[in-house]
C-alpha cells in the first residue's frame, strides 16, 4: 500500500498554495507586521519630537498678603517657567491666553499661594482636562513643598530627604524553579493570547478549506485517489502551518517594531521553558485544528456550519476564566487537574509553569494527553469525513449522526 505520507503531502501543498492565492489571507498576514513596524516609526517620531519640546508654563506665586511676587519654580527639564505680573497674572487672564493656544503659546499655569506647603490650595489652569504636563508639574511642586516643610524643622534638607528613601530588600527563594522570571511569565501570557488569536483566525480558513471540495463537488474524485484520512491529514497539516505562520510573522514584526522603538527585549527568557511553550502551542494548535476539522467534516457547506462549531470556537478562550487563579495559586489542586484537560492545557500549563506552579511530570503528562487527544481528533475527523462526505444538499440529522457514529 502506498505510504500515507505520499498521499497527504500533495493535499497539504495544494491547500497552502490555494491559501497563498487568497488576497485576504496575504493582506491580513502581512498587514499586521507592516502596521506594527509603521506604528513604531510613528511612535518613535512622536517621542523624539516630544523629547525636544519645551513646554511653557506660567507660574504665579503670591505672598502672604495675596500679592504676586514674581518668583518662579526651581528648574525642571522640558519646562520653561513664565512669570506674568499685574493684570495678566490673574487666573482669568491666564485662562484666556491658554484657551487661545497656538504654537509656542503658554500651555498652562500654576498658581501657588504663600501657604501652598502648609495646606493652601494650589490652582492649575489647563487648556483641557487631562493635560499631560499637569501631573509632572504637580510632582515638582510637591517636592518643593516637602523641602519647604523640612526647612521649618530642626533637620537639614538632606536628612529630611532621607526620610522618604525606599527600603532595601533581598529575597531568598526556598523552592527555585526555572522559567519563572517576569520575562517567562510575559511570554506564557503572550503565547496563550497568540494561540487563541491564531485559532480564531484559522477557523474561518479551515471552514473554507474543509467544505471547499464538498461545495465544488470534487469530493468523490479526491477520495477515489486517496483515503479520506489522508485527505483530512493533509488539511490539518496545511492549516496548522498556515495558522501558525500568521502569529510567527506577527511576532517577528512585533520584535522588529520593538527594536525600532528601542524597547529592551527580555533577556531572562529560559530556553527550556520557551521550548515547552512552543511544544504546547504547536500540539495545542494541531488539537484545535483537528477538533474543528471533525466538526466541519460533518457539514455540507459553509452556510450550514453547526451551532456546535460556534460553541467550540470559545473552547480555547475558556482557560482565561481561570487566569487569576493560575497566576495567584498556580499549584491549586483543582487547577492542576483542570490543566490536564487537552482543550485547556495549551494555555493553562505554560502559565502555571511560568508561575512556578507546575511540576515537570505535570508538564509531561499534559503533553502526552494533548498529543493523544490531537491524534484521536484527527482519526475521528477522518472517519466523519469518510462517512459524511457524500452528504450533498441536506442538513445533518440526529439519526444520521447516530449512523455515522456506528460506522466510525
Amino acid at each position: 500500500m502506498r505510504s500515507r505520507f505520499r498521499e497527504w503531502v500533495p493535499v497539504a501543498g495544494w491547500e497552502i498554495k490555494r491559501m497563498l492565492m487568497r488576497t485576504d489571507f496575504v493582506v491580513s498576514t502581512l498587514l499586521v507586521p507592516v502596521l506594527l513596524v509603521g506604528m513604531s516609526f510613528v511612535v518613535g517620531w512622536i517621542k523624539a519630537r516630544d523629547a525636544k519640546r519645551v513646554r511653557a508654563i506660567a507660574v504665579v506665586r503670591y505672598d502672604a498678603a495675596g500679592a504676586v511676587t514674581g518668583d518662579s519654580l526651581p528648574p525642571l527639564a522640558g519646562y520653561r517657567w513664565l512669570t506674568p505680573r499685574g493684570d495678566s497674572a490673574s487666573a482669568e487672564a491666564l485662562a484666556a491666553v491658554i484657551k487661545r493656544g497656538g504654537k509656542g503659546a503658554v500651555e498652562g499655569a500654576v498658581l501657588l499661594p504663600a501657604g501652598f506647603a502648609r495646606g493652601d490650595t494650589v490652582r492649575f489652569v489647563v487648556q483641557r482636562e487631562g493635560a499631560g504636563w499637569k501631573s509632572r508639574v504637580e510632582r515638582h511642586v510637591a517636592t518643593l513643598a516637602r523641602l519647604e516643610r523640612a526647612a521649618g524643622h530642626p533637620v537639614g534638607v538632606a536628612e529630611f530627604a532621607a526620610f522618604t528613601d525606599t527600603i532595601r530588600t533581598t529575597e531568598r527563594v526556598a523552592d527555585p524553579r526555572v522559567g519563572t522570571s517576569g520575562a517567562d511569565r510575559a511570554a506564557a501570557l503572550i503565547m496563550a493570547v497568540v494561540l487563541v488569536m491564531a485559532v480564531f483566525g484559522t477557523n474561518m480558513y479551515l471552514a473554507i478549506g474543509i467544505s471547499a471540495e464538498k461545495q465544488s463537488r470534487v469530493t468523490e474524485v479526491i477520495v477515489s485517489a486517496i483515503s479520506p484520512q489522508s485527505w483530512i491529514d493533509g488539511k490539518i497539516v496545511a492549516y496548522t502551518l498556515i495558522g501558525l505562520a500568521q502569529p510567527v510573522i506577527w511576532t517577528v514584526g512585533g520584535v522588529v517594531a520593538a527594536m525600532l522603538m528601542s524597547w529592551t527585549l527580555p533577556a531572562a527568557l529560559n530556553p527550556w521553558t520557551l521550548g515547552v511553550f512552543a511544544l504546547y502551542m504547536l500540539i495545542g494548535f494541531v488539537f484545535f485544528v483537528s477538533l474543528f476539522s471533525l466538526v466541519l467534516a460533518t457539514v455540507k457547506d459553509l452556510q450550514s456550519t453547526s451551532k456546535l462549531q460556534a460553541y467550540l470556537i470559545f473552547l480555547p478562550m475558556m482557560p482565561f476564566m481561570f487566569l487569576d487563579t493560575a497566576i495567584e495559586s498556580p499549584d491549586a489542586t483543582w487547577l492542576a487537574v483542570l490543566s490536564q484537560v487537552p482543550a485547556f492545557s495549551p494555555t493553562l500549563i505554560p502559565i502555571r509553569v511560568a508561575m512556578g506552579g507546575a511540576q515537570p511530570w505535570e508538564v509531561a503528562l499534559g503533553l502526552v494527553l494533548l498529543a493523544a487527544a490531537a491524534w484521536y481528533m484527527r482519526k475521528a475527523a477522518g472517519t466523519a469525513f469518510r462517512v459524511g462526505m457524500l452528504m450533498y444538499g441536506k442538513e445533518l440529522t440526529l439519526p444520521e449522526l447516530v449512523r455515522w457514529s456506528k460506522e466510525a
Partner: protein
C-alpha cells in the same frame, strides 16, 4: 493475477439504505482491454455500485477484487464520478497536476502529461486559465483528463457523456477508445445507449439494484429476441462487371437452411429477404454476396440496445410499464 484473469471482479455486492435495498447481489467482471457498459435506469443502483467499487462506500455484503487482491491500488484506477466538479478558481494545469500527484505521479510527470493532454484538446492558450472561465463542456473535458492523466489500468466513468454536445460526445468516444486500445479496462455507465452500443464490448443491464441482462451485445440481442429470427432485407445491384449467379444460392452456401426469398429484378436491382437466427453474424453473408453484387441497402429487424433496454426495464419495473412504449422492432436502416 493470471494473464487471463479479470482486472476487476465483483461478487454478490449488496447495499442497503435503511429499508431500501439499493444494490441486490450484483456480480460481474471487467477485463483488461475492454469497455464494459454498466447500464440501467435512474435509481437502478449504478452510482451506488460504482462507489462501492471505488471504496467510497462499503458494501453490506459481497466482495470486490482488483487484480486478484482485495485492496484496490488507487494509482491504477481512474474515476470520473457522476457527481463531479472542479476547483473553479484553480487553473487548468494546476488542477491536472494536483489530481495527477494524488494518483502517485511526480509533479514533473503530471505537469508534462497534463500539458500534453490539454494541448491535444485545444487548450494550448488556456493552460493557466481558471476553470470557471471554461464552458461546461470544456470543464467536463478537464474532469475527464483528471480521471485518466495517470494512465490507469481501469477507468471507471460514470455518465461521461452527460451534458456534452454531439461533437464532444464523439471526442469522448475516441478518447475512451484510445484507453481501450492501450489495454486499459473501461467501466462505463451511460444513458446514451446509441453511444454505449458503439463503444461497449460487453454490457450489464441492471434495474432495481439487480441484474437484468449481461453479455456481449449479440448475446443480449439473442436473449432479448427470445429465439425469434432476425429479418434482414437487402437491395443488391448487379455490379459494373456484371453480377452473376443466384443470390439465394449464395445465401444457402454460407447459411444453409435459412429461409431466403429473392424478389423480381427491376432495372438491375434485386431485393432479398433473409430470415437469420437472432444474433447471427452478418459478416460472412455480406462477404459472399459482395463477391457478385453491389449491396445498395441493408435493413434489419435486430433490436437496438435502446429497444432491448426499454423492454427489459419495463418488464422488470411494473411502474415503468404504465408509460407508453416506443415503437419496437422497427427495422433500423444502415447504408452500405
Amino acid at each position: 493475477m493470471t494473464e487471463a484473469g479479470p482486472l476487476l471482479a465483483v461478487q454478490g455486492i449488496r447495499k442497503r439504505f435503511g429499508d431500501f435495498e439499493a444494490v441486490r447481489g450484483l456480480s460481474f467482471e471487467v477485463r483488461a482491454g475492454e469497455v464494459f457498459g454498466f447500464l440501467g435506469p435512474n435509481g437502478a443502483g449504478k452510482t451506488t455500485s460504482l462507489r462501492m467499487l471505488m471504496n467510497i462506500t462499503r458494501p453490506d455484503a459481497g466482495s470486490v477484487t482488483f487484480m486478484g487482491g482485495p485492496v484496490m491500488d488507487r494509482r491504477l484506477v481512474g474515476y470520473l464520478p457522476e457527481e463531479r466538479g472542479l476547483f473553479e478558481d484553480a487553473t487548468l494545469i494546476d488542477t491536472l497536476v494536483y489530481l495527477g500527484t494524488l494518483r502517485g505521479m511526480s509533479r514533473a510527470d503530471a505537469r508534462a502529461e497534463g500539458k500534453r493532454w490539454l494541448e491535444r484538446l485545444g487548450f494550448t492558450e488556456r493552460l493557466t486559465a481558471r476553470l470557471n472561465t471554461l464552458s461546461k463542456g470544456n470543464q467536463q473535458k478537464v474532469q475527464f483528463l483528471g480521471a485518466v492523466i495517470h494512465r490507469p489500468a481501469l477507468a471507471v466513468l460514470d455518465e461521461p457523456f452527460s451534458g456534452l454536445d454531439p461533437l464532444n460526445q464523439e471526442l469522448f468516444l475516441d478518447l475512451i477508445g484510445e484507453l481501450r486500445a492501450r489495454g486499459a479496462a473501461v467501466l462505463l455507465s451511460a444513458h446514451q445507449l446509441t453511444l454505449a452500443e458503439r463503444l461497449c464490448d460487453r454490457l450489464l443491464l441492471i434495474a432495481n439494484g439487480a441484474e437484468l441482462l449481461s453479455g456481449t451485445l449479440d448475446e443480449i440481442r439473442l436473449r432479448a429476441a427470445g429465439g425469434a429470427s432476425e429479418e434482414v432485407k437487402l437491395e443488391l445491384r448487379r455490379g459494373a462487371g456484371g453480377g452473376s449467379g443466384d443470390p439465394v444460392a449464395a445465401v444457402a452456401r454460407v447459411a444453409p437452411g435459412v429461409e431466403c426469398r429473392a424478389g423480381e429484378e427491376r432495372e438491375g436491382l434485386v431485393t432479398l429477404d433473409v430470415a437469420l437466427p437472432a444474433g447471427s453474424d452478418l459478416g460472412p453473408l455480406l462477404a459472399e454476396l459482395a463477391r457478385a453484387w453491389r449491396i445498395e441497402r441493408i435493413s434489419t429487424s435486430a433490436l437496438s440496445l435502446h429497444e432491448i433496454y426499454v423492454r427489459a426495464v419495463r418488464g422488470a419495473d411494473p411502474a415503468a410499464a404504465a408509460a407508453p412504449l416506443a415503437p419496437a422492432g422497427e427495422p433500423e436502416a444502415h447504408h452500405a
